[in-house]
Symmetry: D2
Subunit: 280 residues, 4 copies
């Protein structure tokens, strides 16, 4: 006999852009929103009873409806507004999960001056939030950045590791260190200034990455996490996933040329993956 | 003060292809392998001490070394061989996680006859396994299929759902039902015939999808899971994630044309997401 | 002073799916349509005069309108119907270019029997057409296949090539030959049986690829083209682009293992690219 | 009888990164290089005679060899060095085509100060060059930018277009104008300052896009091209391809809300495509 265990459903990839019209300039945001619901939905699976099912199409409409009425200035605030709307209006929902990703539209700078109404897409990173609320409980907010693509051309080494019969890697005292970092942080208290914390965490991560005398990806990852905790007292812990996007030194010996860390072969795969959570 | 909490590292996207030479034909497999380790690695993060660190480059070499010596006939067997090699040879590893994805290379059929040594890439789905083992414990094996892209042109309805002021969806008694399913199953006992179970589960999923008089994605998903449990006694539970890849009826009324379920607009986003675990 | 030279505009990526209801089964097609127009449009660029501009949104509507009324049984016929509708209804158009790509939805086979109304997405290849017509002239039709992903595990060699001081490649008498071929063919006469020619060309390409004792990608490409010309008298020429998707023999010598063409490392980049047109 | 018509071959997606060590900082470039050759290669297709075939693997080696010895400060100079090396060393080559794409690694700015050795990946656009040379002839250089993703929130209208029975688009006097532009320009004389021209062209394009009172994509495209020609006398013509990446006004009327250009639905497909060449 089969029974239904964990189940949830929702609408994914609801895209939305928003113009905020200030007196002297426009703000522009582009978000992708994901809604997931848990609750009294088992009968839709087991008995084809849709009477409690909020159509995912309606969730999409709800995203736009809430966005129009919202004054949210960041993705965290919008996620909570959207989730609370759903919880308030549909008693059969026991838990909402809202995720939002924001693209890096940057104000265009021309001749040193910011343009009031023109934007350029910046780096591949996305600003992210995952916001979950069980009915009657507090919001659980996890903010983050996905795909932060950064690279340093020096101050990176990797030596002293395990050597066995399958080792072919040569120790490196000066190598390229490139990564496409995904970072998520949780908060110590319910209502932080999300934008300020995001700015503090991001600055701490980038500064540490740049300045660090890295002896391994692990070493730098931990110190980046530590720096973020130091910079933003509002965060309780931070999780970093940092693939090692290798740039291999091109082997030019067969052609009679040296290669003193000059020409490299970047590869996407395979790549190292280093992950850890750093907390207080 | 910052402390290191959860941490792991490994090598991702190690690609490998293999020819198996039978007397009358070749077998061909293309796998992507991911290795993740947990264990006595904290000092690499906190003290830049790499003395316990097995380089991810060596993990890559290990994949090829084990593959050459292996007689594994499926990804589950290979994942376990690889993980056991790592556990046996490196005492500092407390837990290995191996994931493998296999592409759908299909033997080419020409004039009705199978080609001995020629293959064609089939559907986008990947055969998958996630295999985890803590030192001294049994293997935890989760087999699956990712991206199984299937569609039916009838026997799909969606009616009787919640209607509120944000509802614009019209009830449908005959609609297209398309999905790109990701499925994972766990086993009841340690050494099943992985290939046979995979074949049984896949057949049960496809048959149920085709035959079902679907009253919602939830309804079909549950019955697909139930059918898989019925077909393969070796599995304990099965998790299905089935996005609803919408084909919207093209609105031709403004042009004076009817559209009796003839012409549709397929969209990738937004999409419904329906997920559940079905177990005995 | 600046002048407007070549210009064209249109609508790209108009997606459409279609159910054709036969007495005993459904047919299902999913197409992506692209429309490009040339004609009396210069004033829209140079004088902001839109009076001749057919909005690209209307082109999208036209795709659905024509599809609903169409009985086209293949993408070539539909492309011509769509283009002729545009030429007939808008005198300012001097030339239409229609491109259509069709996905490989395959009828599902269960227990050896074809399902009447259920489909599974097959290989990554797309069936393609580019159809161009200048007003008052005949249609120029180029049919094709994009992304045909095939591989053979033997009967492929590469020796006897130029060797110079930058050569590190070793001659191979038995290697994997994988490609993701893109092929296009033109016709000798205006109204061939497009579906039959497509089937003949495809069969000839696949058979030759499988059977060929390849001495280079160039060698096989040419003989594939020749076979297609032999198989389908209706085609005048055929162009093939065949990347060499390398599977490199894994180097296991450092670990004391041989590797008699058993374990390989597939790579996506860099890749060889071999292109030629074969004609009568 | 089949004959070989046009043919060419080469190596695609050769990736390379380079550190240039200045006294006070590093420069970092990441390029993807493509090599295509035409010449005396017909026998490799028709007679399996590889004696003139330079392996594509050797082309890859050549890219790294030339890069190590090069002092090229831009992709145009490198493309010509690489092509000239191939022409000089292999008499059977009649024509080389080199293409290079450069990623937008930007120097990291921390607390307002540029980092000497740390970089962040910027926008999705690629700096490009296509450089072709027939033996004994001059280089033909086409520089460009691919994927320049920009958006303005006002000063964009579209009215006065053709209206017919398939028209549903409403005239817009204030809409979002987003594009992902691909631009290529040719030169009037053989040895321009490529970097300076690139900077001038890019600045002119962005300024015009931002300032323009757009009455259509065509209108803005033409004026962008005109501005580039005005800004850089060294260029002879410029080709722009500007998809119209639509942000549709969310329809909130069914929910009793207005939407004064506040909330939009961005879509990737379908999209308008507008292309033209502007020349002196």
């Amino acid at each position: 006999m089969a029974t239904l265990a964990q189940n949830r459903y929702g609408k994914s990839r609801v895209r939305l852009s928003r113009i905020t019209r200030l007196s002297d300039r426009h703000l522009f945001n582009e978000w992708t929103v994901h809604v997931m619901l848990e609750g009294d939905f088992a009968a839709s699976y087991t008995d084809a009873d849709n009477s409690n099912v909020l159509p995912t199409d309606t969730m999409k409409n709800t995203v736009y409806y809430v966005a129009r009425r919202s004054h949210a200035q960041n993705i965290e605030a919008f996620a909570m507004e959207l989730g609370d709307y759903l919880l308030s209006n549909h008693a059969q929902i026991a838990k909402v999960g809202i995720a939002v990703e924001e693209k890096t539209w940057e104000r265009m700078i021309l001749d040193g001056a910011p343009e009031a109404t023109t934007f350029k897409l910046g780096g591949p990173e996305l600003q992210t939030v995952r916001a979950d609320r069980a009915r009657g409980r507090a919001w659980q907010i996890v903010s983050g950045i996905a795909g932060l693509t950064i690279l340093k051309t020096t101050k990176s080494a990797f030596t002293g590791y395990v050597r066995d019969k399958l080792t072919t890697l040569k120790p490196a005292t000066d190598r390229i260190f490139g990564t496409c970092a995904t970072v998520e942080w949780e908060y110590t208290a319910p209502a932080p200034d999300f934008a300020q914390v995001r700015a503090q965490v991001t600055a701490a991560l980038l500064k540490t990455f740049a300045a660090h005398n890295s002896l391994s990806v692990q070493h730098t990852l931990f110190d980046m996490g530590k720096a973020a905790l130091d910079a933003a007292p509002e965060i309780a812990r931070i999780r970093l996933s940092m693939p090692n996007l290798h740039h291999l030194l091109a082997n030019l010996e067969p052609f009679g040329l040296d290669n003193p860390n000059h020409i490299f072969v970047p590869i996407d795969e395979p790549h190292g993956t280093i992950e850890a959570t750093v907390e207080r």
